[in-house]
Amino acid sequence: MNWQWFHRLGSPRWFYQTTERWLPWLYLAALTILSVGLTWGLAFAPEDAKQGNSFRIIYIHVPASFLALAGYYIMASAGAIGLIWKMKLSYMVMKAAAPIGAALTFVALVTGAIWGKPTWGAYWVWDARITSMLILLFLYLGVIALQYAYQSVDAASKAGAILALVGTVNIPIIYKSVDWWYTLHQPATIKLTSAPSMHPDMFQPLLVMILGFYIFYALALIVGTRSEILRRERKTGWVRELAAAEVRS
């Protein structure tokens, strides 16, 4: 098997130059799909029988929650790849993934709270899913804080990767235990977990929005990684040439 592509991935310079060509397409795709999904969802999807127009926040809330969770695994996998194959690039991906994931988790929590007020009459309820999302936010913040605490880039990357991996082992345990804790407390009225059987007219724009968020996430991750590459490789020849060319033009 040809492993050349894999070894190439280890080179920040190769990544920087290749993604340069992808960026315009990603911007275009993210912009188009997100605006189509938003217009469809916010303007054309039918109104909900019980919740009226307030349900439309689902088109932000659900994709953000999806990516918040997936983003943690992306971050932890990048950290694991860095620890195992000692790839500089994957540490940069990990560092870029942490703030994006934290922001998406925050968006999911805030939109959930805004949605909660009209539907259940309270901004915050100690429900299993909300609580575990809050814990996920704390895990993200821990990884970010640990990376900023170290002076040495190498130690910051590796320590962050270990913490992200410990978190990965813990996430299923945390989720199960919070779920279990919630059933123990016997909630009074609110039921979040009953799966809503959505009408296709409402569901299709949601799928478009999820796809759009995935592309947006990829875009944000690439842009973040690129700036991290420039920061960490600022003393190398090719970055200096790049900067010199920028100054000349």
Partner: protein
């Protein structure tokens, strides 16, 4: 080979216990914190025993968690400062075993006294009689989990100047399953249910922590202690 396993474990366990005995004042800190904070609860909440009884179990668990967290910082910090941690890292022993020894010593110095003092606090916070045995059992198992998981955080932050606060931030989310099952054990007993299932879940967590936490802490120490 087994001899080598044991020597690393028991030598460091004994060393940490002896050190703690010589600095008894430091070792008593978490316990004093545990007892003193419990006087704040009636002051801040209510002195009524009926209402105190409702929150007693959860409060004792929260305070035990905070007291453990407070002492976690010192697990590797002193050894890092005087250089014995470096000696440990370059020694031919398997690193996780001495670390497990240090974590066990930490539990014997903080977790066990907290567990033994908890009936006293239960009495002061008017915990119903049915809750005492489950509380002792859950604290004994749970504080061991706390020492092991916290050890990973301590290893990650050992060389940082303000590691203590960061350590709490890192470790707190990882502690949540422990406190859920710990206070559930007492809660089940108070409701007259079988309290062994949550205790068993806590035991499973302890088993997983014994197996995994020393490995993670060893990996973390190799990275962080050189910087």
């Amino acid at each position: 080979m087994t001899q080598q396993f044991n020597s690393g474990f028991s030598a460091w366990l004994k060393r940490d216990l002896v050190l703690a005995y010589r600095r008894r004042g430091d070792a008593a800190g978490p316990l004093l914190f545990f007892v003193m904070v419990s006087t704040l609860i009636p002051l801040g909440l209510t002195p009524e025993s009926a209402r105190l009884a409702d929150v007693a179990a959860g409060m004792i668990w929260v305070m035990a968690l905070l007291a453990t967290l407070l002492s976690m910082d010192a697990l590797f910090a002193d050894d890092h400062r005087d250089g014995s941690l470096e000696q440990l890292l370059i020694s031919p022993q398997l690193l996780p075993m001495p670390i497990l020894g240090k974590m066990t010593a930490h539990w014997l110095i903080t977790g066990l006294p907290l567990t033994l003092a908890s009936p006293l606090l239960g009495l002061m916070l008017s915990l119903p009689a049915a809750g005492f045995v489950p509380m002792l059992c859950s604290l004994a198992v749970g504080t061991a989990c706390l020492s092991l998981i916290g050890g990973v955080g301590a290893a990650l932050t050992v060389s940082l100047r303000k590691g203590g606060l960061l350590l709490s931030l890192l470790v707190m989310p990882l502690y949540m399953p422990v406190i859920i099952f710990g206070s559930a054990t007492v809660g089940y007993a108070l409701d007259g249910l079988n309290w062994l299932p949550p205790l068993a879940a806590l035991g499973a967590m302890l088993a997983a922590s014994v197996a995994l936490c020393p490995l993670a802490a060893a990996g973390a120490l190799r990275i962080t202690s050189v910087n």
